[in-house]
């Protein structure tokens, strides 16, 4: 059968292997997260906050960046972004188990408070949206130094109503800074739905207010996200300034392990959302373009499972930091 048109991925400059690689990361994200839920429900770790339903947005976006050259200022759901940026499953589990060797915080922070010095992933906190201003500052400083850096930052649609969101976009727009603001709109900010959160209904529309493009994409479509972010990345490198990308995603789980979405979402809604699972969608694409068959996928699943199992076992066996370490790193030591 002849291909009537160029495959989407090819048009984007991606090889088949790369798409499969992206799928690998999406799968790894999902399976790692599922394992974290299991660990949490079995009492082994106290807290989980998930990216399930947002894998396409995260992997698609991160894949458009240059690990170790660009900078990442992620938000708490960005497991997929961190994996693409170079964080290993073992490191993810170290953070989940709050072990001393956790590169994000040495076990000081709750899991999903990312950070990795060597990979230019900036340490995050719990007050949401503050990281957007940090991303702007990083971009500002990189420009002052004359460095070729594009900065990734993300938040949920709830954060797009925080003051810091607007201050960050305004500043980035004024100075045409190389920042990509990825708003992962998963339609719920904990329990508050979109129509009670975002006045005007569109986060993307806010970009224009700050003098730069605001683009809405289907966040469950891996290649659509990749395309949008790649374009934004190139824009930034050309010195044309920031881009706001609103990725319309779904949230498959409750907000976190401390939340039960059945209180505010009907079973029908939850079932409907499952149908938009990005993993299902990319799998279909891979099949359609014969990039990955069942055997290949099973092999991939096994590879992912092995990585998840290894990470879990290994990390659980690692020691905690000494309790007295709680007194260290208030100020620079030495």
């Amino acid at each position: 059968m002849m291909e009537a048109t160029t495959a989407r991925h090819t048009a984007l400059g991606l090889t088949g292997e790369q798409v499969v690689d992206m799928f690998y990361y999406m799968l790894l994200t999902r399976r790692l997260d599922e394992r974290l839920w299991l660990l949490q429900r079995s009492g082994k770790i106290p807290f989980v906050i998930s990216p399930q339903g947002q894998e396409a947005a995260q992997v698609g976006a991160a894949y458009a960046f240059r690990p170790r050259q660009d900078w990442f200022v992620p938000y708490y759901r960005d497991l997929g972004v961190n994996l693409v940026a170079g964080v290993t499953p073992r490191e993810v589990m170290l953070s989940a188990f709050a072990r001393g060797a956790d590169p994000a915080s040495g076990g000081r922070q709750m899991p999903s408070h990312w950070g990795h010095r060597r990979l230019n992933i900036v340490s995050g906190s719990s007050p949401v949206t503050t990281q957007l201003l940090h991303a702007v500052g990083i971009a500002q400083a990189a420009r002052m130094r004359g460095d070729d850096v594009v900065v990734y930052t993300a938040c949920g649609e709830g954060s797009s109503n925080q003051g810091d969101f607007h201050e960050a976009l305004n500043w980035a727009g004024l100075h045409k800074l190389p920042v990509i603001f990825l708003v992962q709109n998963n339609e719920y900010a904990i329990s508050v739905p979109l129509d009670r959160q975002v006045a005007g209904g569109s986060v993307a529309a806010r970009g224009q207010g700050y003098g730069f493009p605001g683009i809405e994409v289907d966040g469950t479509d891996l290649l659509a996200v990749y395309e949008a972010v790649k374009a934004a990345h190139e824009r930034a490198r050309r010195g044309e300034g920031p881009t706001l990308i609103e990725a319309r995603c779904i949230r498959l789980t409750s907000h976190s392990s401390d939340d039960d979405q059945r209180r505010y979402r009907t079973p029908e809604e939850i079932a409907a959302v499952r149908e938009r699972d990005p993993l299902v969608r990319i799998r279909a694409y891979l099949r359609e373009h014969r990039l990955l068959d069942e055997a290949g996928e099973e092999a991939l699943e096994r590879r992912v499972a092995a990585a998840v199992d290894d990470a879990t076992e290994w990390a659980e066996a690692q020691p905690y930091a000494a309790p007295e370490d709680a007194l260290r790193h208030v100020y620079k030591e030495g």
Binding site: D102, R108, S126, L133, V136, E167, W171
Partner: protein
Amino acid sequence: MAVMNLVEAIRETLRAEMRRDPDVWIVGEDVGKKGGVFGATLGLYDEFGPERVQDSPLAESAIGGVGIGAALYGTKPVCEIQFADFIFPAMNQIVSEAAKMRYRSNGAWSVPMVIRAPFGGGVHGGLYHSQSVEQYFTNTAGLKVVVPATPYDAKGLLTAAIRDPDPVLFFEHKGLYRAVKGEVPEEDYVIPIGRAEVKRDGTDITVISYGKTLHFCLQAADLLEKEGYSALVLDLRTLLPLDKEEIVAAARKTGKVLIVHEASKTHGIGAEVAAIIAEECLFDLDAPIQRLCGPDVPAMPYADPMEKFYMLSTEKCLAAMRQLAQF
């Protein structure tokens, strides 16, 4: 050696540091062409340009947050908040982010940033141009809080602050900007953050202060000397971390301590200094520890008589010092 006032000393320090290190830059409202509403950055825009002396939008949280980001990347931003009264929108960035960045990342990330702001009253500024805000930050480990009282100290401390690997809040009493003058050496020098200084030695009472009230205490000490009492006056200079050693030594020397500050009394800096002295020097105390501070009202009123009522003065300090000396 030149004689300068406080704001000149600050400006010259900024200039010297920016010449020395291309990573040092300034950001804040009106700091560029205007040179700052108090002239603290006057002329720097002409020398260093709009990117290094950057006029920010009217957005304090952004001034703090962008500063943090730039510091994370490795540059040395000196952020100006136009009046300390307006620092509160940046509180989240300062306390949740800057103060905790090193600690939460287990030492991987740090914020070598300075935030400068004019504070203090007695200048007909009313409730929102006169506040002292240092006490909101001194309970936050991870920050450093500095208040110079003299031009000489201002240069040494600001130099230290800019070179410090951790976030430093640098509060300048606006009533001292032009009123206090002193000799400031041209050459480079650093006064370590965290060191108080005995500005005047004495044997009968110990007076501990900082900022503008330090000068009231020094003037009162001169007057008190004529009455036959000798006062030791200690300038704290850094409020976080406090120089416990020097505080304890000064308290021990006389056993009679008066703590003076313009900020409201309750839960103010004086409370911490008093607690340190009570913990460490109980058996050297010859009198209850005294505090002479601003009243416990939300802020300083505008009308002249009410402002004078609120503000401390040489006379008020003298009365308190005399009473303690005679106890």
